[in-house]
Amino acid sequence: MDETRFACNPLAAWTEINGNIVLVSPEDSVLHELNPTASFIWKHAAGELTAAEVARLLTSEFEVAPEVARADAEEFLALLAQKRLLLQQPASEAVR
Protein backbone atom coordinates (compact mmCIF):
# COMPACT_ATOMS: atom_id res chain seq x y z
CA MET A 1 0.00 0.00 0.00
CA ASP A 2 3.09 2.22 0.34
CA GLU A 3 2.75 4.51 -2.64
CA THR A 4 -0.70 3.50 -3.74
CA ARG A 5 -2.77 6.60 -4.34
CA PHE A 6 -6.40 6.92 -3.38
CA ALA A 7 -9.05 9.48 -4.27
CA CYS A 8 -12.53 10.15 -2.95
CA ASN A 9 -15.19 8.32 -4.95
CA PRO A 10 -16.81 11.16 -6.93
CA LEU A 11 -20.19 9.43 -6.61
CA ALA A 12 -20.08 9.39 -2.81
CA ALA A 13 -22.50 11.82 -1.20
CA TRP A 14 -21.25 13.57 1.90
CA THR A 15 -21.59 16.56 4.13
CA GLU A 16 -20.15 17.81 7.38
CA ILE A 17 -22.39 17.80 10.43
CA ASN A 18 -21.16 19.05 13.78
CA GLY A 19 -17.57 18.62 12.64
CA ASN A 20 -17.98 15.03 11.48
CA ILE A 21 -18.22 13.84 7.89
CA VAL A 22 -21.35 11.88 7.05
CA LEU A 23 -21.26 9.86 3.82
CA VAL A 24 -23.59 7.75 1.73
CA SER A 25 -21.71 5.04 -0.11
CA PRO A 26 -22.70 4.87 -3.78
CA GLU A 27 -22.47 1.11 -4.04
CA ASP A 28 -25.01 0.15 -1.40
CA SER A 29 -26.57 3.45 -0.19
CA VAL A 30 -25.37 2.80 3.34
CA LEU A 31 -24.84 5.79 5.59
CA HIS A 32 -21.49 6.18 7.34
CA GLU A 33 -20.11 8.65 9.82
CA LEU A 34 -16.42 9.32 10.20
CA ASN A 35 -15.06 10.05 13.64
CA PRO A 36 -13.28 13.40 14.16
CA THR A 37 -9.88 12.05 13.16
CA ALA A 38 -11.15 10.37 10.02
CA SER A 39 -13.18 13.49 9.22
CA PHE A 40 -10.02 15.55 9.54
CA ILE A 41 -8.30 13.33 7.01
CA TRP A 42 -11.27 13.34 4.62
CA LYS A 43 -11.45 17.13 4.63
CA HIS A 44 -7.73 17.37 3.90
CA ALA A 45 -7.86 14.78 1.18
CA ALA A 46 -9.34 16.98 -1.50
CA GLY A 47 -7.21 15.33 -4.17
CA GLU A 48 -5.40 12.03 -4.08
CA LEU A 49 -3.39 10.75 -1.15
CA THR A 50 -1.18 7.91 -0.03
CA ALA A 51 -0.77 6.20 3.34
CA ALA A 52 2.41 8.18 3.90
CA GLU A 53 0.58 11.46 3.31
CA VAL A 54 -2.24 10.50 5.63
CA ALA A 55 0.29 9.55 8.29
CA ARG A 56 1.98 12.92 7.88
CA LEU A 57 -1.36 14.66 8.30
CA LEU A 58 -1.99 12.73 11.50
CA THR A 59 1.40 13.40 13.05
CA SER A 60 1.19 17.08 12.17
CA GLU A 61 -2.18 17.48 13.83
CA PHE A 62 -2.16 14.96 16.68
CA GLU A 63 0.33 13.75 19.23
CA VAL A 64 0.80 10.33 17.78
CA ALA A 65 3.86 8.20 17.11
CA PRO A 66 4.78 7.94 13.43
CA GLU A 67 4.42 4.15 13.38
CA VAL A 68 0.97 4.35 14.97
CA ALA A 69 -0.07 7.07 12.53
CA ARG A 70 1.14 4.96 9.64
CA ALA A 71 -0.78 1.91 10.85
CA ASP A 72 -3.92 3.97 11.34
CA ALA A 73 -3.50 5.54 7.93
CA GLU A 74 -3.23 2.20 6.20
CA GLU A 75 -6.25 0.92 8.08
CA PHE A 76 -8.22 4.03 7.18
CA LEU A 77 -7.41 3.78 3.48
CA ALA A 78 -8.07 0.06 3.34
CA LEU A 79 -11.41 0.37 5.09
CA LEU A 80 -12.67 3.23 2.92
CA ALA A 81 -11.39 1.56 -0.21
CA GLN A 82 -13.20 -1.62 0.77
CA LYS A 83 -16.42 0.37 1.07
CA ARG A 84 -15.68 2.10 -2.25
CA LEU A 85 -15.68 5.51 -0.59
CA LEU A 86 -12.08 5.87 -1.75
CA LEU A 87 -10.95 4.57 -5.11
CA GLN A 88 -7.49 3.25 -5.82
CA GLN A 89 -5.96 5.29 -8.63
CA PRO A 90 -4.32 3.64 -11.61
CA ALA A 91 -0.54 3.81 -11.51
CA SER A 92 -0.43 5.81 -14.73
CA GLU A 93 -2.44 8.56 -13.05
CA ALA A 94 -0.48 8.49 -9.83
CA VAL A 95 0.93 11.95 -10.23
CA ARG A 96 -0.07 14.65 -7.81
Binding site: T15, E16, S29, E75
Partner: protein, 395 residues
Protein backbone atom coordinates in the same frame (compact mmCIF):
# COMPACT_ATOMS: atom_id res chain seq x y z
CA UNK B 1 -27.54 2.30 20.62
CA UNK B 2 -29.79 3.68 17.94
CA UNK B 3 -29.00 3.70 14.25
CA UNK B 4 -26.86 6.31 12.63
CA UNK B 5 -29.79 7.70 10.65
CA UNK B 6 -31.75 8.19 13.86
CA UNK B 7 -28.84 10.07 15.39
CA UNK B 8 -28.35 12.13 12.26
CA UNK B 9 -32.01 13.14 12.27
CA UNK B 10 -31.84 13.88 15.98
CA UNK B 11 -28.83 16.17 15.57
CA UNK B 12 -30.30 17.93 12.55
CA UNK B 13 -33.59 18.54 14.34
CA UNK B 14 -31.77 19.86 17.40
CA UNK B 15 -29.70 22.30 15.37
CA UNK B 16 -32.25 23.00 12.60
CA UNK B 17 -29.78 21.85 10.01
CA UNK B 18 -31.49 21.58 6.58
CA UNK B 19 -30.52 17.96 6.05
CA UNK B 20 -33.21 17.39 3.37
CA UNK B 21 -34.09 19.71 0.51
CA UNK B 22 -36.90 19.14 -1.96
CA UNK B 23 -36.25 21.34 -4.97
CA UNK B 24 -38.89 21.70 -7.69
CA UNK B 25 -36.79 23.01 -10.57
CA UNK B 26 -39.79 23.49 -12.87
CA UNK B 27 -43.55 23.37 -12.68
CA UNK B 28 -43.83 22.69 -16.41
CA UNK B 29 -45.06 19.21 -17.20
CA UNK B 30 -45.79 16.98 -20.17
CA UNK B 31 -48.71 15.37 -18.36
CA UNK B 32 -51.90 17.01 -17.13
CA UNK B 33 -52.86 14.81 -14.21
CA UNK B 34 -56.41 15.36 -13.07
CA UNK B 35 -55.45 15.73 -9.40
CA UNK B 36 -52.34 17.92 -9.82
CA UNK B 37 -51.91 20.89 -7.48
CA UNK B 38 -49.55 22.85 -9.71
CA UNK B 39 -49.89 25.68 -12.22
CA UNK B 40 -47.84 24.41 -15.15
CA UNK B 41 -47.25 27.79 -16.76
CA UNK B 42 -43.70 29.09 -16.45
CA UNK B 43 -43.89 32.30 -14.44
CA UNK B 44 -40.14 32.89 -14.52
CA UNK B 45 -38.36 29.85 -13.18
CA UNK B 46 -34.79 30.25 -12.01
CA UNK B 47 -32.04 30.18 -14.60
CA UNK B 48 -29.27 27.63 -14.68
CA UNK B 49 -26.88 29.90 -12.81
CA UNK B 50 -29.54 30.81 -10.27
CA UNK B 51 -30.25 27.15 -9.54
CA UNK B 52 -26.54 26.45 -9.23
CA UNK B 53 -26.27 29.34 -6.80
CA UNK B 54 -29.04 27.84 -4.69
CA UNK B 55 -27.27 24.46 -4.74
CA UNK B 56 -24.07 26.17 -3.55
CA UNK B 57 -26.01 27.65 -0.64
CA UNK B 58 -27.65 24.35 0.28
CA UNK B 59 -24.26 22.71 0.26
CA UNK B 60 -22.86 25.40 2.54
CA UNK B 61 -25.85 24.97 4.87
CA UNK B 62 -25.11 21.25 5.29
CA UNK B 63 -27.82 19.66 3.14
CA UNK B 64 -27.07 16.02 2.32
CA UNK B 65 -30.29 14.65 0.82
CA UNK B 66 -31.46 16.54 -2.28
CA UNK B 67 -34.55 15.66 -4.29
CA UNK B 68 -35.11 17.23 -7.70
CA UNK B 69 -38.77 17.24 -8.59
CA UNK B 70 -41.39 19.22 -10.49
CA UNK B 71 -43.35 19.50 -12.74
CA UNK B 72 -41.37 17.21 -14.96
CA UNK B 73 -37.65 17.65 -14.34
CA UNK B 74 -36.62 16.39 -17.77
CA UNK B 75 -38.38 19.34 -19.42
CA UNK B 76 -35.53 21.55 -18.27
CA UNK B 77 -32.96 21.60 -21.05
CA UNK B 78 -30.23 22.10 -18.46
CA UNK B 79 -31.36 19.20 -16.28
CA UNK B 80 -28.28 17.07 -16.73
CA UNK B 81 -26.07 20.11 -16.25
CA UNK B 82 -27.81 20.77 -12.94
CA UNK B 83 -27.48 17.12 -11.95
CA UNK B 84 -23.78 17.18 -12.75
CA UNK B 85 -23.36 20.32 -10.68
CA UNK B 86 -25.24 18.78 -7.77
CA UNK B 87 -22.99 15.72 -8.03
CA UNK B 88 -19.91 17.95 -7.82
CA UNK B 89 -21.34 19.32 -4.58
CA UNK B 90 -21.64 15.79 -3.18
CA UNK B 91 -25.39 15.68 -2.56
CA UNK B 92 -27.23 12.40 -2.18
CA UNK B 93 -29.51 12.70 -5.22
CA UNK B 94 -33.09 11.52 -5.68
CA UNK B 95 -35.54 12.35 -8.46
CA UNK B 96 -39.31 12.47 -8.75
CA UNK B 97 -40.51 12.20 -12.33
CA UNK B 98 -43.23 10.71 -14.47
CA UNK B 99 -40.52 8.85 -16.36
CA UNK B 100 -42.02 9.51 -19.78
CA UNK B 101 -38.76 11.02 -21.06
CA UNK B 102 -36.43 8.41 -19.56
CA UNK B 103 -35.00 6.09 -22.18
CA UNK B 104 -32.08 3.67 -21.92
CA UNK B 105 -29.51 6.39 -22.61
CA UNK B 106 -30.89 8.76 -20.00
CA UNK B 107 -31.17 5.95 -17.45
CA UNK B 108 -27.49 5.22 -17.98
CA UNK B 109 -26.60 8.89 -17.54
CA UNK B 110 -28.53 8.99 -14.27
CA UNK B 111 -26.57 5.99 -13.08
CA UNK B 112 -23.28 7.57 -14.12
CA UNK B 113 -24.18 10.72 -12.21
CA UNK B 114 -24.73 8.79 -9.02
CA UNK B 115 -28.46 9.35 -8.67
CA UNK B 116 -29.49 7.09 -5.81
CA UNK B 117 -33.22 6.77 -6.30
CA UNK B 118 -35.89 7.67 -8.86
CA UNK B 119 -39.58 7.78 -7.97
CA UNK B 120 -42.04 7.47 -10.84
CA UNK B 121 -45.78 8.06 -10.69
CA UNK B 122 -47.86 5.05 -11.74
CA UNK B 123 -51.60 5.24 -11.19
CA UNK B 124 -52.84 1.79 -12.12
CA UNK B 125 -51.91 -1.53 -13.62
CA UNK B 126 -54.32 -0.74 -16.45
CA UNK B 127 -52.85 1.53 -19.16
CA UNK B 128 -56.22 3.09 -19.95
CA UNK B 129 -56.77 4.13 -16.32
CA UNK B 130 -53.26 5.55 -15.94
CA UNK B 131 -53.45 7.45 -19.25
CA UNK B 132 -56.88 8.85 -18.39
CA UNK B 133 -55.43 10.32 -15.20
CA UNK B 134 -52.30 11.76 -16.85
CA UNK B 135 -54.21 12.80 -19.98
CA UNK B 136 -51.18 11.72 -21.98
CA UNK B 137 -51.87 8.77 -24.28
CA UNK B 138 -49.17 6.15 -24.08
CA UNK B 139 -47.79 7.47 -20.80
CA UNK B 140 -48.31 4.20 -18.94
CA UNK B 141 -46.21 2.24 -21.41
CA UNK B 142 -43.44 4.85 -21.36
CA UNK B 143 -43.40 5.21 -17.56
CA UNK B 144 -43.23 1.45 -17.04
CA UNK B 145 -40.46 1.25 -19.63
CA UNK B 146 -38.59 3.92 -17.65
CA UNK B 147 -38.80 1.84 -14.49
CA UNK B 148 -37.32 -1.10 -16.38
CA UNK B 149 -34.52 1.04 -17.86
CA UNK B 150 -33.63 2.28 -14.39
CA UNK B 151 -33.65 -1.21 -12.95
CA UNK B 152 -31.41 -2.41 -15.77
CA UNK B 153 -28.90 0.20 -14.67
CA UNK B 154 -29.11 -1.00 -11.10
CA UNK B 155 -30.75 2.19 -9.89
CA UNK B 156 -33.22 2.20 -7.05
CA UNK B 157 -36.66 2.90 -8.49
CA UNK B 158 -39.98 3.30 -6.73
CA UNK B 159 -43.50 3.89 -7.93
CA UNK B 160 -45.85 6.36 -6.28
CA UNK B 161 -49.59 6.11 -6.67
CA UNK B 162 -51.92 8.82 -5.42
CA UNK B 163 -55.31 7.25 -4.76
CA UNK B 164 -58.50 8.78 -6.19
CA UNK B 165 -61.87 7.51 -7.44
CA UNK B 166 -60.43 6.71 -10.86
CA UNK B 167 -57.91 4.21 -9.48
CA UNK B 168 -58.90 3.23 -5.96
CA UNK B 169 -60.05 -0.17 -7.20
CA UNK B 170 -56.67 -0.70 -8.87
CA UNK B 171 -54.41 -0.24 -5.88
CA UNK B 172 -53.64 -3.96 -5.63
CA UNK B 173 -52.62 -3.98 -9.28
CA UNK B 174 -50.07 -1.30 -8.42
CA UNK B 175 -48.78 -3.35 -5.50
CA UNK B 176 -48.49 -6.40 -7.75
CA UNK B 177 -46.89 -4.35 -10.51
CA UNK B 178 -44.26 -3.08 -8.06
CA UNK B 179 -43.51 -6.65 -7.03
CA UNK B 180 -43.23 -7.71 -10.67
CA UNK B 181 -40.88 -4.81 -11.42
CA UNK B 182 -38.89 -5.39 -8.25
CA UNK B 183 -39.38 -1.87 -6.91
CA UNK B 184 -40.83 -0.24 -3.82
CA UNK B 185 -44.25 1.39 -3.94
CA UNK B 186 -46.10 4.15 -2.16
CA UNK B 187 -49.89 4.38 -2.06
CA UNK B 188 -50.56 8.03 -1.35
CA UNK B 189 -53.94 8.86 0.17
CA UNK B 190 -53.21 12.59 0.09
CA UNK B 191 -54.90 14.73 -2.52
CA UNK B 192 -54.29 18.40 -1.80
CA UNK B 193 -55.74 21.73 -2.88
CA UNK B 194 -53.85 23.56 -5.61
CA UNK B 195 -51.01 25.76 -4.46
CA UNK B 196 -53.05 28.84 -5.29
CA UNK B 197 -55.72 27.67 -2.85
CA UNK B 198 -58.12 26.26 -5.46
CA UNK B 199 -59.85 23.36 -3.73
CA UNK B 200 -61.07 21.67 -6.93
CA UNK B 201 -58.71 18.65 -6.60
CA UNK B 202 -60.32 17.76 -3.28
CA UNK B 203 -63.32 16.50 -5.23
CA UNK B 204 -61.04 13.61 -6.23
CA UNK B 205 -60.32 12.61 -2.65
CA UNK B 206 -61.80 9.31 -1.57
CA UNK B 207 -63.61 9.23 1.77
CA UNK B 208 -62.33 6.89 4.44
CA UNK B 209 -65.09 4.38 3.74
CA UNK B 210 -63.89 3.99 0.17
CA UNK B 211 -60.34 3.62 1.42
CA UNK B 212 -61.19 0.75 3.76
CA UNK B 213 -59.93 -1.94 1.38
CA UNK B 214 -56.53 -0.26 1.43
CA UNK B 215 -56.55 0.51 5.14
CA UNK B 216 -57.41 -3.09 5.96
CA UNK B 217 -55.26 -4.80 3.35
CA UNK B 218 -52.80 -6.99 5.28
CA UNK B 219 -50.14 -6.78 2.58
CA UNK B 220 -50.20 -3.00 2.34
CA UNK B 221 -50.40 -2.44 6.07
CA UNK B 222 -47.71 -4.98 6.90
CA UNK B 223 -45.43 -2.94 4.68
CA UNK B 224 -46.31 0.27 6.44
CA UNK B 225 -46.07 -1.05 9.98
CA UNK B 226 -42.48 -2.19 9.57
CA UNK B 227 -41.19 1.37 9.70
CA UNK B 228 -42.55 1.80 13.21
CA UNK B 229 -40.70 -1.09 14.77
CA UNK B 230 -37.96 0.78 16.56
CA UNK B 231 -38.45 3.74 18.85
CA UNK B 232 -35.07 5.25 19.70
CA UNK B 233 -34.55 6.65 23.16
CA UNK B 234 -34.00 10.15 21.79
CA UNK B 235 -37.72 10.36 20.98
CA UNK B 236 -38.28 11.59 24.50
CA UNK B 237 -36.26 14.70 23.65
CA UNK B 238 -38.28 17.90 23.27
CA UNK B 239 -36.99 18.30 19.70
CA UNK B 240 -39.35 15.47 18.70
CA UNK B 241 -42.37 17.29 20.12
CA UNK B 242 -43.13 18.59 16.65
CA UNK B 243 -45.77 17.85 14.03
CA UNK B 244 -43.18 16.80 11.45
CA UNK B 245 -39.69 17.60 10.27
CA UNK B 246 -40.75 20.33 7.81
CA UNK B 247 -38.96 23.56 8.61
CA UNK B 248 -36.83 21.81 11.22
CA UNK B 249 -34.47 19.73 9.07
CA UNK B 250 -36.34 19.78 5.75
CA UNK B 251 -37.15 22.51 3.29
CA UNK B 252 -38.86 22.99 -0.05
CA UNK B 253 -37.78 25.33 -2.86
CA UNK B 254 -39.97 26.37 -5.78
CA UNK B 255 -38.77 26.99 -9.35
CA UNK B 256 -39.16 30.70 -8.62
CA UNK B 257 -36.88 30.67 -5.61
CA UNK B 258 -39.44 30.69 -2.83
CA UNK B 259 -38.40 28.75 0.27
CA UNK B 260 -41.09 27.02 2.28
CA UNK B 261 -41.02 24.39 5.00
CA UNK B 262 -42.63 21.77 2.77
CA UNK B 263 -44.31 21.36 -0.60
CA UNK B 264 -47.59 21.06 1.30
CA UNK B 265 -47.00 24.31 3.19
CA UNK B 266 -47.31 27.05 0.57
CA UNK B 267 -46.26 29.87 2.86
CA UNK B 268 -43.06 31.40 1.54
CA UNK B 269 -40.47 32.14 4.19
CA UNK B 270 -38.50 34.18 1.69
CA UNK B 271 -37.24 34.28 -1.87
CA UNK B 272 -33.75 33.28 -2.91
CA UNK B 273 -33.65 35.98 -5.56
CA UNK B 274 -33.74 38.56 -2.79
CA UNK B 275 -32.24 36.87 0.25
CA UNK B 276 -29.68 34.20 0.99
CA UNK B 277 -30.80 30.72 1.99
CA UNK B 278 -29.00 31.18 5.29
CA UNK B 279 -30.94 34.35 6.08
CA UNK B 280 -34.25 32.78 5.12
CA UNK B 281 -33.69 29.44 6.87
CA UNK B 282 -32.48 30.87 10.16
CA UNK B 283 -34.07 34.29 10.12
CA UNK B 284 -37.55 34.16 8.63
CA UNK B 285 -40.50 34.84 10.86
CA UNK B 286 -42.53 32.09 9.15
CA UNK B 287 -40.03 29.32 9.87
CA UNK B 288 -39.37 30.51 13.39
CA UNK B 289 -43.10 30.44 14.03
CA UNK B 290 -43.34 26.91 12.65
CA UNK B 291 -40.48 25.83 14.91
CA UNK B 292 -42.36 27.17 17.88
CA UNK B 293 -45.20 24.72 17.22
CA UNK B 294 -45.12 21.77 19.57
CA UNK B 295 -47.39 18.75 19.32
CA UNK B 296 -48.03 18.87 23.04
CA UNK B 297 -49.25 22.47 22.83
CA UNK B 298 -51.35 22.42 19.66
CA UNK B 299 -54.85 23.53 20.58
CA UNK B 300 -57.47 20.80 20.44
CA UNK B 301 -55.32 18.13 18.76
CA UNK B 302 -52.97 17.83 21.75
CA UNK B 303 -55.96 16.75 23.86
CA UNK B 304 -57.24 14.21 21.36
CA UNK B 305 -57.60 10.68 22.66
CA UNK B 306 -56.88 9.13 19.27
CA UNK B 307 -53.93 11.30 18.30
CA UNK B 308 -51.63 8.31 17.92
CA UNK B 309 -53.72 7.29 14.92
CA UNK B 310 -53.57 10.74 13.39
CA UNK B 311 -51.36 11.86 10.51
CA UNK B 312 -52.12 15.51 10.95
CA UNK B 313 -50.03 17.68 8.64
CA UNK B 314 -49.50 21.37 9.51
CA UNK B 315 -49.37 22.25 5.82
CA UNK B 316 -52.65 20.55 5.01
CA UNK B 317 -54.16 22.08 8.16
CA UNK B 318 -53.13 25.46 6.81
CA UNK B 319 -54.44 24.76 3.32
CA UNK B 320 -57.68 23.10 4.36
CA UNK B 321 -58.64 24.96 7.51
CA UNK B 322 -56.49 28.08 7.36
CA UNK B 323 -54.52 27.31 10.52
CA UNK B 324 -51.36 25.22 10.72
CA UNK B 325 -51.98 24.72 14.42
CA UNK B 326 -55.55 23.62 14.05
CA UNK B 327 -57.41 20.42 13.26
CA UNK B 328 -58.89 19.66 9.88
CA UNK B 329 -61.63 17.37 8.83
CA UNK B 330 -59.63 14.94 6.70
CA UNK B 331 -57.10 14.13 9.44
CA UNK B 332 -59.88 13.56 11.98
CA UNK B 333 -61.81 11.33 9.59
CA UNK B 334 -58.81 9.14 8.83
CA UNK B 335 -57.71 9.02 12.47
CA UNK B 336 -61.16 7.85 13.56
CA UNK B 337 -61.18 5.18 10.85
CA UNK B 338 -57.70 3.98 11.78
CA UNK B 339 -58.60 3.90 15.47
CA UNK B 340 -61.75 1.94 14.72
CA UNK B 341 -59.78 -0.56 12.69
CA UNK B 342 -57.32 -0.88 15.58
CA UNK B 343 -60.18 -1.86 17.89
CA UNK B 344 -60.95 1.43 19.61
CA UNK B 345 -64.64 1.53 20.45
CA UNK B 346 -66.46 4.60 19.11
CA UNK B 347 -63.43 6.75 18.43
CA UNK B 348 -64.14 10.46 18.14
CA UNK B 349 -61.48 13.08 17.63
CA UNK B 350 -61.18 16.00 20.03
CA UNK B 351 -62.18 18.33 17.21
CA UNK B 352 -65.35 16.38 16.51
CA UNK B 353 -66.15 16.19 20.22
CA UNK B 354 -65.80 19.94 20.48
CA UNK B 355 -67.83 20.56 17.35
CA UNK B 356 -70.57 18.17 18.44
CA UNK B 357 -70.79 19.92 21.80
CA UNK B 358 -71.27 23.27 20.13
CA UNK B 359 -67.74 24.61 20.67
CA UNK B 360 -65.54 26.01 17.96
CA UNK B 361 -62.03 25.25 16.90
CA UNK B 362 -60.84 28.56 18.27
CA UNK B 363 -62.38 28.17 21.72
CA UNK B 364 -60.10 25.49 23.10
CA UNK B 365 -56.47 25.87 23.96
CA UNK B 366 -55.39 23.14 26.33
CA UNK B 367 -51.91 21.89 26.98
CA UNK B 368 -51.44 18.16 27.01
CA UNK B 369 -49.50 16.49 29.77
CA UNK B 370 -48.07 14.07 27.25
CA UNK B 371 -45.52 15.86 25.14
CA UNK B 372 -44.18 13.08 22.96
CA UNK B 373 -44.68 13.05 19.21
CA UNK B 374 -46.91 10.43 17.65
CA UNK B 375 -45.55 7.17 16.34
CA UNK B 376 -46.73 8.05 12.88
CA UNK B 377 -44.74 11.27 12.90
CA UNK B 378 -41.67 9.49 14.15
CA UNK B 379 -41.81 6.90 11.43
CA UNK B 380 -42.13 9.65 8.84
CA UNK B 381 -38.88 11.16 10.05
CA UNK B 382 -36.95 8.00 9.29
CA UNK B 383 -35.95 7.83 5.67
CA UNK B 384 -33.08 5.36 5.63
CA UNK B 385 -33.10 2.38 7.94
CA UNK B 386 -29.71 0.83 7.43
CA UNK B 387 -26.70 2.64 8.78
CA UNK B 388 -23.17 1.69 9.63
CA UNK B 389 -20.69 3.53 11.78
CA UNK B 390 -17.24 3.85 10.42
CA UNK B 391 -14.60 4.39 13.06
CA UNK B 392 -10.92 5.08 12.72
CA UNK B 393 -9.20 3.29 15.60
CA UNK B 394 -6.45 5.24 17.20
CA UNK B 395 -4.67 3.98 20.31
Amino acid sequence: MTGLMDRLIFRSLKSHLPLNAHFDITYRCNERCVHCYLDHEDHGEMTTSEVKGVLDQLRAAGTLFLTFSGGEVFLRKDFFELLAYARQLHFDLCLKTNGVLIDAVRARRLKEMGVRKVQISIYSGRPEVHDAITKLPGSFTRSIAAVRFLKQQGLQAAIACPIMPQNVADYRQVVDLAAELGVAYLLDLTITPKMDGDRAPLALREDSQSLLPILTDPVVNAKHSRSEESQPEEYSDPCYDIPCSAGHNSCYITPYGDVTACVQMPVAAGNLRRHSFQDIWYGSRELRHLRDLHDSEVPICSTCSIRKFCQRCPGLAHMEAGNAEGPYERACELAETSARLAGVAHPVSAYHLLRNSGGTAQSASVRSANGSASGVTKSRLITIASAVDLQLNRQ
